[in-house]
């Protein structure tokens, strides 16, 4: 019982930490597309949505991790 409680707390801490590290903080990923196979994550910066992939390739670094 004691252990279960500890695990849940730890889980919540991790979930909260992941939320921060993947969606918050100083962004230089606005220029980058990351696609992560393992947990099926894609973060698309706003500018990526708005600019075409072609211009992006010309102007910015496109990193595709997958």
């Amino acid at each position: 019982m004691q252990n279960d409680f500890y695990d849940i707390n730890k889980e919540i801490t991790i979930l909260d930490a992941l939320d921060r590290v993947l969606t918050k903080g100083v962004v230089i990923t606005g220029d980058i597309v990351i696609s992560v196979a393992d947990i099926d994550l894609i973060y698309v910066g706003l500018r990526v949505l708005l600019s075409s992939v072609e211009t992006m390739k010309k102007n910015q670094r496109l990193i595709d991790i997958s």
Partner: protein, 114 residues
């Protein structure tokens, strides 16, 4: 993270954990077009936009009803139109094997579309 960051909680911590797990990034909508799934990817995009407009119409209709500014005839038309639209959407969803949850877009920093 070896450290426990919970400094206060009340109610059911189990329920809180369940909700947090639901919003993990793996579960969020995305469009990932490959040659095999491009058709359903496109359908997903189009249906998402239609669904957004349908929901806006529904909301607007409720405001008009609250405002009591509709005639008998308008009410009949409105109800029929919305009903048909919803049925049509259900059909399309079935055809493309999409659920309500699929009909949303994660706009990154802007959050979800719907």
């Amino acid at each position: 993270m070896d450290e426990n960051k919970i400094i206060f909680s009340s109610g059911s911590i189990g329920e809180i954990k369940e909700e947090l797990e639901k919003i993990q990034y793996g579960n969020q909508g995305r469009i990932n077009a490959t040659p095999e799934n491009v058709e359903s990817g496109l359908a997903k995009l189009v249906l998402t936009l239609i669904e957004l407009i349908r929901k806006l119409m529904e909301k607007q209709a409720m405001r008009r009803i609250e405002g009591d500014s509709l005639t008998e005839e308008e009410i009949e038309n409105l109800g029929e139109t919305l009903m048909k639209l919803e049925n049509k959407m259900d059909e399309l969803k079935k055809i493309f094997n999409l659920t309500d949850k699929d009909l949303n877009l994660n706009l990154g920093p802007l959050g979800d579309l719907i």
